[in-house]
């Protein structure tokens, strides 16, 4: 099978599947492909589990922190958002008793 015939088969269009036999062929193609894909997901998934267990067995504690280029700091954003919340909620008269990050 050379690449030309591949190309031809890849470019099959609706007409080729007209009629009962075409529809049955499409069903066969479809169900086989769906099974192939999910079997691959299962097998490669299992390989992945083994890979992870072998090479990265420990949970990473600290994920890298998000940052935007040219962004000041996330703390500032947090503080700002909280300030806004309090401000909006209380109409300028509220107070935040305490904000804890555990």
């Amino acid at each position: 099978m050379n690449s030309l015939s591949i190309l031809a088969s890849a470019t099959a269009n609706a007409q080729e599947f007209e009629g009962l036999s075409g529809a049955l062929l499409l069903m066969a193609i479809g169900m086989v492909t769906v099974f192939i894909v999910l079997l691959l997901v299962i097998y490669v998934g299992n390989a992945l589990i083994m890979f992870v267990n072998k090479f990265v067995p420990e949970e990473t504690k600290e994920a890298p922190k998000a940052s935007f280029a040219s962004v000041q700091s996330v703390d500032a954003v947090t503080a700002n958002v909280i300030a806004q919340a309090v401000n909006t909620l209380t109409g300028g008269k509220g107070k935040v008793e305490s904000i804890k990050k555990i």
């Binding site: 890849a10 099959a12 269009n13 609706a14 080729e16 599947f17 007209e18 009629g19 009962l20 075409g22 529809a23 049955l24 499409l26 069903m27 193609i29 479809g30 169900m31 492909t33 769906v34 099974f35 192939i36 894909v37 999910l38 079997l39 691959l40 997901v41 299962i42 490669v44 998934g45 299992n46 992945l48 589990i49 890979f51 992870v52 267990n53 990265v56 067995p57 420990e58 949970e59 990473t60 994920a63 890298p64 922190k65 998000a66």
Partner: protein, 467 residues
């Protein structure tokens, strides 16, 4: 009196009384609103869709998505041409400029702000043969988007910019991915295979529909309802048979809302009490799995990348759906460093996409796109596809049980349908009814999530071979 006459001319009353089919569509909108609001049928999608149907079906409102023929043409005649032509004799009109009669859209002509169907007798205006030569043909694929907005209103604009372009279904899939947890699937990876069995309904209904007057593209669009996945159904229909978008989207979301009715029905017809009482946890104790999970976090990060690669190699046409689904999932699982993106993908972007998708899909449901025999076929065929998909999953589980020692509850096959997570909840409730200690939820989630991948793959196949 001139005042009242002009006001009357401005209103939609004359058109609504001439073409009562509009009233049918408005009534349908009310029914859908009732189902979405009062009955809780997938309200996030059905309510926008229903409202879209409502506002689309008032003549003159320009809020309906115009039907186009197979090559993207829209026909209109200017008011001046119309008024100039009034004095002439009238003749029957047949549209001959290359429009196939089989195209739904060719039957309809927008005249000024009004719609006229040349096939209806007593429709004098378009019988004037001189007018036909003055019908303006718009090529929707050659018009810039802002010109579409300018000529045909904002709903056509939203439709072509966001829906027909194929943008929103993958965007919604990104949000779905950001809200999906592959943990249960990873813990019971073997059960994912039932996400394949439960695509049976798609291909079975494809065969039936193709023998019942639908062409292959239409049959494929109808059949994908059996995938039980809204964005996938919309994406496939847009590629194969966009003129059936409205009914198919509504059928897909309605049946998904009816999962608590349909799954018990199919299960009752096909499964024995013994089968439904199979306790997965006891099976796990009898035949314990050797798999251990030392680093679930890393696994959950690697998994979406892996699935994307596999699907992209085998079914490239499914990559816009699966790729975006997995990207959404990835930015969730990475955690802190991409949580900004995750927040926006799963909230702002997804909700915005849902609103515009719903409204404009609803707006495609104009008289000629809905009131025809194919709609009945879609309603019936969609139901069959749904049922047969559940049946396919159950059968696969039964076949598996014939050969394996470690038995599997057929409910896990049934949830391969997708409709996450409602199908799993419904399946769990059924299992608990037979054995109050038999919690199958986590097992069902595996096949259930796999069903999303399965139906996206099926969609890719249909698009690849029929598109």
């Amino acid at each position: 009196m001139e005042i009242l006459s002009k006001i009357y001319g401005m209103t939609a009353i004359d058109n609504l009384t001439c073409y009562p089919s509009y009233l049918v569509m408005i009534a349908l909108a009310f029914v859908l609103l009732y189902l979405g609001i009062k009955k809780g049928f997938e309200p996030l999608l059905l309510i926008p869709i229903a409202f879209g149907v409502l506002i689309a079906n008032f003549p003159g409102g320009e809020m309906g998505v115009l039907a186009v023929n197979g090559v993207g043409e829209i026909f209109r005649i200017s008011n001046e041409a119309l008024q100039n032509g009034l004095g002439d004799g009238f003749q029957t009109v047949t549209l001959v400029n290359g429009v196939e009669a089989s195209q739904a859209s060719s039957n309809f002509i927008q005249v000024g702000q009004l719609f006229y169907d040349p096939s209806i007798e007593g429709n004098e205006i378009l019988k004037n043969v001189d007018l036909v030569s003055q019908i303006k043909v718009y090529d929707i694929w050659a018009m810039p988007l802002h010109d579409i907005a300018h000529e045909f209103g904002i709903m056509n604009y939203i439709y072509y910019a966001l829906i027909k372009s194929g943008l929103l279904p993958p965007i919604i899939f990104m949000g779905v991915g950001a809200l999906t947890d592959f943990g249960p699937m990873l813990r019971n990876l073997k059960l994912a295979i039932f996400g394949a069995g439960a695509q049976f309904g798609i291909f079975a209904v494809l065969i039936v529909a193709s023998q019942c007057g639908f062409d292959m593209k239409e049959a494929g669009s109808l059949a994908i309802i059996g995938g039980a996945d809204g964005p996938t159904a919309i994406f496939t229909t847009l590629k194969l048979a966009p003129h059936m978008l409205g009914p198919i989207a509504i059928a897909a979301y309605s049946y998904m809302a009816l999962v608590p009715v349909i799954i018990p029905l199919v299960v009752k017809l096909t499964c024995s009490k013994e089968e439904l009482s199979i306790n997965m946890k006891e099976q796990d104790k009898l035949y314990p799995s050797k798999t251990e999970f030392k680093n679930m976090q890393a696994l959950k990060i690697l998994f979406p990348i892996t699935v994307t690669t596999i699907v992209a190699i085998i079914v490239p046409d499914a990559i816009s759906l699966i790729g975006m689904l997995m990207f959404g999932n990835l930015i969730k699982e990475i955690g802190n460093s991409t949580s900004r993106l995750f927040q926006t993908a799963s909230n702002g972007i997804m909700n915005t996409a849902t609103i515009f998708l719903g409204l404009s899909v609803g707006a495609t449901m104009t008289v000629d796109a809905f009131l025809n025999l194919k709609t009945i076929g879609i309603v019936a065929g969609g139901f069959c596809a749904f049922g047969l998909s559940i049946f396919g999953g159950i059968c696969l589980a039964k076949i598996y049980n014939l050969f394996a020692k470690k038995k599997i509850n057929p409910l896990i096959g049934a949830t391969g349908l997708s409709a996450v997570p409602m199908a799993s909840r419904v399946a769990n409730d059924i299992a608990l009814k037979y054995d109050p200690k038999n919690h199958v939820l986590n097992y069902c989630m595996s096949s259930n999530v796999a069903g999303v991948i399965g139906s996206a793959v099926a969609a890719g196949i249909l698009i690849s071979f029929l598109g």
